[in-house]
Symmetry: C2
Subunit: 418 residues, 2 copies
């Protein structure tokens, strides 16, 4: 297969389909989503058979247990995909929403209309359910999608693609609106990210290395989700019960997620009061603590934190702890070490809360809440395609709105410039 | 001079200054803008002397009259720069604006806070007043700016930079918040667009060739303004008086601007009625007409339009005219030839107006108004740094809001994920 020629053809078809999708009626898009959900459920046997092939090949290839787990489909996960699509169908259609429509002195009305981006390329790794989730979000937001999943999930993804295509066709929408790249040749990614004539934005989902490579080589805008070195700062004026609850939850609710706390900052005024009870709770959960010298004066059992620890995304039951002198030192630490994902302050002090909200330069900034809330569902977006740590276009959890843009509309009655 | 080392140092200082600018109070930013306006006026003699050097060198270098005109400063233009800065001071501060703050079922409040982008690199050509305009917009939106003007304006730009620095310092803001690149070495641009660690976004202002080169080589997001092949479509249900007025104004109000009409589409139902009076008005203005065969049946004096004419941004008293059969053919022409800048339909038909607004994929889509309204001042943005023909981040005229982003804020009372 000539990969370049194949991807050009995929791109051309996506571009053509994107025009139909941009003007597709809400009812047709919702019908397609519900059709796809039904097809995924009724095709369960075919999906499981295709997935069994991928799993067998994965075992032959020596994939580790975590990867095989992510690759696996089962009746519960298939039901989850269908349910996700039904939830997307229930969300309001963002396309065509008009805002800020006001009269100007010239007599024209000027406003903004929300419109699809066009063609969205999504590059992801082993989990096949991303195929359904991403297709659903792109479809509802009026975009065409080119999906490039992991090569280890190729049979599963093609089986899901078949369900998507039957659901689109049944609703009278072009099947090219969602294309799952058929080749596992890595060159396909290189083509996908360098076709600005056919692709409007790339959303990579995967490890930091993959995303950095894609961002470096892309000739198309990339919505990047790099990594989450998230912080909780327990201020000297914190309610200590809230502080313990939030710091414990932010670290231990789930370890392998980007919005888990990786470093705890504690004001020296309360460190000796709040750290011992927290350390006991962490010890019960088996969380390894790594502390600065002042932390280790209070918690001698903590390991020594090295400079590298302050920049580490552990994604594991490990926590770095630093004692700081007040808000300014905490802000300075964040400025140097935060990855710009999510930071939270625990405080009862109005002015410090207000400063923290204004001055911390992260996609989510919180007061008295666990960093684990940084999530599209918790924020009410309905679903998310990722969490952007970029500043341009969209920041934080990316839902339907992040897959759209706004154009200006002008309503006049014959006005001319004088 | 080691250009790479110099630009790295400019970048580092901009990044450091951007932190202070992000938390600068509205009053300090406004004071700086007013100080700079006053300094530009009181330094008028120095500005004119510096500009005289640039003009003398430009004449030696054989710059053409149009370029020399753009390069020239005079008391009126200096007053215009100062007035522009005062207008920016009078605009509301976009930074810190909180929107959509709502309670979620978990008890947290989730909203968005508008924040600066960080460091903005602006690359522009001969007109020295861009130095003051761009600095003012970046300053008010809480960003640090690195300005790289045309080498032919280097003395003028440095003189304006001196006024900017004195105005910033007097208001207690860091002078590194606005840096005008001192070297005329072209390698400086190459460095500026490949320092993502120091620069968050690039705004190039200039010809299509310059912008395409920058977009191709940049490792930083670029807010692109490519070109404006703008259209007016006179529908079969147009009010013909409005149609003549709008089509005449859109072409002849100013020729060398991106929102001028370059192609007129006319429904065959009204072509023979509306084209003759329009052609007479164009003839009085000396506008050259280039028509499709059906246009030339009605206007035999029109030249033959070639296929290339449909994609041409004339920026001159030339107009391409095509007769089409109804809205669908007009939309098809726009799909193939529009540059995505601004298109306007003239019609009294509700359904066709509604379809045109929804289906035309341009940064501004108008009904019964001249394309010349596509402008930051006319839209009420107060000022603009350019007009984006991109879909990502910002589309259409870019004012203060386009130089900002939104982060999520979460207000809780001790909430944890369960």
């Amino acid at each position: 297969m000539d990969v370049k020629q194949y991807m050009q053809s995929v791109g051309q078809r996506a571009r053509a389909a994107s025009r139909d999708m941009a003007r597709a009626k809400t009812a047709a898009k919702n019908a397609a989503l519900l059709n796809i959900a039904a097809a995924i459920e009724s095709d369960q046997a075919a999906l499981l058979a295709a997935n069994a092939k991928d799993l067998a090949q994965g075992r032959l290839d020596g994939l580790d247990a975590a990867l095989l787990d992510r690759l696996e489909l089962n009746p519960e996960r298939i039901a989850g995909m269908a349910e996700g699509l039904r939830q997307i169908a229930a969300l309001p259609d963002p396309v065509g929403e008009i805002s800020d429509l006001n009269y100007r002195p010239s007599g024209i009305q000027v406003g903004k209309m929300r419109v699809p981006l066009g063609v969205i390329g999504i590059i992801y790794e082993s989990r096949p359910n991303v195929t359904a989730d991403a297709a659903g979000l792109c479809l509802k937001s009026g975009n065409a999608a080119i999906l490039r999943g992991g090569s280890e999930a190729v049979h599963s993804n093609q089986a899901i693609a078949a369900a998507i295509h039957s659901g689109l066709a049944e609703a009278g929408l072009p099947i090219d609106a969602v294309q799952v790249v058929e080749t596992t040749d890595r060159a396909a990614v290189g083509e996908l990210i360098t076709m600005p004539e056919f692709v409007d934005v790339i959303v990579p989902r995967g490890g930091k290395g993959l995303i950095e490579r894609i961002a470096r080589d892309a000739r198309v805008p990339v919505i990047k989700h790099l990594h989450g070195v998230c912080h909780v700062f327990i201020d000297g004026d914190a309610d200590l019960d809230k502080a313990v609850a939030i710091a414990f939850n932010a670290k231990t609710h789930r370890y392998g997620v980007c919005n888990a706390m990786e470093t705890l900052l504690v004001d020296s005024e309360v460190a000796s009061i709040v750290l011992p009870p927290l350390a006991q709770k962490y010890a019960e959960k088996g969380v390894e603590l790594r502390g600065c010298p002042r932390t280790r004066e209070i918690l001698p059992e903590a390991r020594v934190a090295t400079e590298a620890d302050w920049d580490e995304e552990y994604l594991a039951p490990i926590l770095a702890i630093r004692v700081v002198d007040g808000l300014d030192q905490a802000l300075e630490h964040l400025h140097r070490h935060s990855s710009g994902h999510t930071e939270s302050i625990v405080t009862e002090d109005y002015s410090k809360a207000r400063r923290f909200l204004a001055e911390v330069d992260s996609s989510s900034v919180m007061v008295n809440a666990s960093t684990r809330f940084a999530d599209g569902f918790e924020y009410g977006l309905g679903a998310e395609i990722g969490i952007s740590t970029d500043k341009i276009h969209v920041r934080g959890p990316v839902g339907l709105e992040g897959l759209t843009s706004q154009k200006y509309i002008v309503l006049g009655d014959g006005q001319i410039r004088v």
